[in-house]
Symmetry: C2
Subunit: 379 residues, 2 copies
């Protein structure tokens, strides 16, 4: 099997870009990734484009802006893990020897398609009963607090950490550090979540050039390698009255660790799917950064800050960097790649050698219809 590498990365700063089209937003990210890889555009043999609400032929429209046409372009929808699912396909194709160089792009424009315009099917009974994402995660938070004594202060610390990190990231949608008082004092959205504990609505794009190890070593001296690429489907809860164990991520994490031959103790830096403050904490447990129920103690310890044992969401995460759905997975890999290359300046995780990216989505039409993509990267 060919070893797959990330030879180039690029993204546009996440922001609300109401006047731009999806292609306007997407192509500069592609251009940046191609430039970063130092690859000839015509050497790209295929493209996988992740978008959830970008409409028909999103990848073709983005590449069309750059005159990149002819190659196979496959658009992939997997909710919040759309572009990490696209990466999984690219990795599969490179490992198989089908292509030597593949472009992955994730793009989304939520300022246009978001805001309650999602089509609801008749089986969307959860949403019709009020179980929108903030409500679903709020119940998970309440349950975690009830079961394990998690406090509102510990929840708020997730936002404080991620906004602090995001303030150091020029690509982040929100670049202002906040205090625990700011977080707890912001508007209530769904108890216990205040506004600053929820990821924002925004637009953005991120792109990756995925190549064989051989080509990557020709292109640059510091490629990053894909040690694990796992996509799973499943449930966000483990079963009746256990809404604090995301079955889909727990299983995906075990598969990813096995594939990489690594464990939680090996991860130096991780970008995990912190759509809401509780989510990051639940994923501490799911990835084995903490024992089940001890995520509150882990955030208290500072171990997940930059400089701690395992830096989580140094980019600012979804809460601070933003969450344009289809762009998120690729943007996480942009950050992990830059961290492993040591390019992150003031938010650099010292000595980072192994990184993990985790994007998980679904729930609009059933919280048991989820997708989860996990990648482990090494330098």
């Amino acid at each position: 099997m060919v070893r797959a590498a990330i030879a180039g990365v690029g993204m546009v700063p996440f922001a609300k870009m109401r006047e731009k089209s999806l292609a306007d937003i997407g192509w500069p990210a592609v251009k940046a990734a191609i430039a970063d890889a130092g690859i000839e555009p015509k050497a790209l043999q295929a493209c996988y484009c992740g978008t959830s609400l970008g409409g028909m032929m999103a990848g073709q429209r983005i590449l069309g802006r750059m005159g990149l046409t002819g190659i196979p372009v496959t658009n992939i929808e997997n909710a919040c893990s759309s572009s990490s699912s696209a990466l999984a396909q690219a990795v599969l194709a490179v490992r198989a020897g089908k292509y030597e160089a593949v472009l992955v792009v994730g793009a989304e424009k939520l300022t246009k398609f978001g805001g309650g315009t999602l089509p609801l099917e008749k089986e969307d009974w959860e949403v019709s009963q009020g179980l929108v994402m903030p409500a679903l995660y709020a119940m998970r938070a309440k349950r975690y607090m009830h079961e394990y004594g998690l406090t509102e202060l510990q929840l708020a610390k997730v936002s404080v950490k991620n906004r602090k990190n995001g303030a150091l990231n020029p690509d982040a949608q929100y670049r202002q550090a906040v205090t625990v008082e700011d977080v707890l004092g912001s508007r209530m959205i769904a108890e216990p979540f205040t506004l600053l504990q929820c990821c924002p609505t925004g637009d953005g794009a991120a792109a990756l050039v995925v190549t064989s190890e051989k080509l990557a070593r020709k292109l640059r001296s510091d490629p990053v390698f894909v040690a694990a690429s796992e996509l799973t489907s499943g449930r966000f809860t483990a079963g009746f009255r256990d809404m604090t164990t995301p079955e889909i991520t727990v299983r995906g994490a075990a598969e990813a660790y096995e594939e990489a031959g690594l464990g939680p103790e090996d991860i130096d830096v991780a970008e995990v799917h912190d759509a809401f403050s509780i989510a990051e904490l639940i994923y501490y447990d799911a990835f084995g950064f903490s024992k089940k129920g001890e995520a509150g103690a882990l955030i208290d310890s500072g171990a997940t800050e930059i400089g701690g044992r395992v830096a989580v969401n140094p980019s600012g995460g979804l809460i601070s960097k933003g969450h344009p759905i289809g762009a998120t997975g690729a943007a996480q890999v942009v950050e992990i790649t830059r961290q492993l290359r040591g390019e992150c300046g003031p938010r650099q995780v010292p000595g980072a050698k192994v990184g993990l990216a985790h994007a998980t989505g679904g729930g609009i039409s059933g919280f048991d219809h989820g997708a989860c993509a996990i990648h482990i990267l090494t330098r």
Copy 2:
């Protein structure tokens, strides 16, 4: 490289199913394909779901109805070639040895999402100027008539042939044969197309079980093999004032023939993308069934009827079987598989050994942003 096979196929009759959800429509096709393959559902290791307008997590919603969860599910959007692009990914994965058995499902519900509700981006200048699909194809038809002397009668014969075939297909949306007079006398849509020369709006689903040759031979005595699987992007026209040469399909056809080591003379049966009457004729030329400009003579000769040299659209094609966008590519492969197995009863193509399926899409936001998937199957 592992040889990929189609071990099972299934579909639901295409129809307007306003009261059903996408999952309601999709799961019976999956069930039928699994039963046809005689495979244990738990032996399926991954799923690729093609849908263009089906919304988030379409595949997960469909499989969720059957309790099929846990496996990687990847939703693929490539307009009219969504589920044939999904098949291309499944074939890639099986050939690479990543999976032994993969489910492909295509599903669409146009009665809900069609009807002018497609989101238009600001770069959709073609559509905003009136260049909707019927108008685009109408201009290609007019140009072909001008350049090569194609007649309205020859155009009408495509619909007569395909409706005759569809009348013999229990899965077709329209099962009434029509005469040339019926076709030419039906309501004008976009000159020269009358209503019966345009594919209808409808809903539907089709599914395929794609496996390694080894597993397919264990499951059944008559598997069908994938000799070529090509996905391309590109233009529907060859350049300035040449709108009768679909560059994307011409190039894809050459790639597919090369991959299979076969030529147009080897194809016994083909399902081609007859969204409008002219489309089938243009594709006769593109696939080399006729010399450039001679498609009218080919339809006159009867060579593309069942029993002719190369039977085209024995299922009834998009015009008669229907065209629920994301389901179309998989449904074409259902038909070719059944033809190669000799299961088609009154519409059986005698002695069919090599079949071709062709789905091409895009154009909603630029006719130069197309996708085209071509598969050649052999028994």
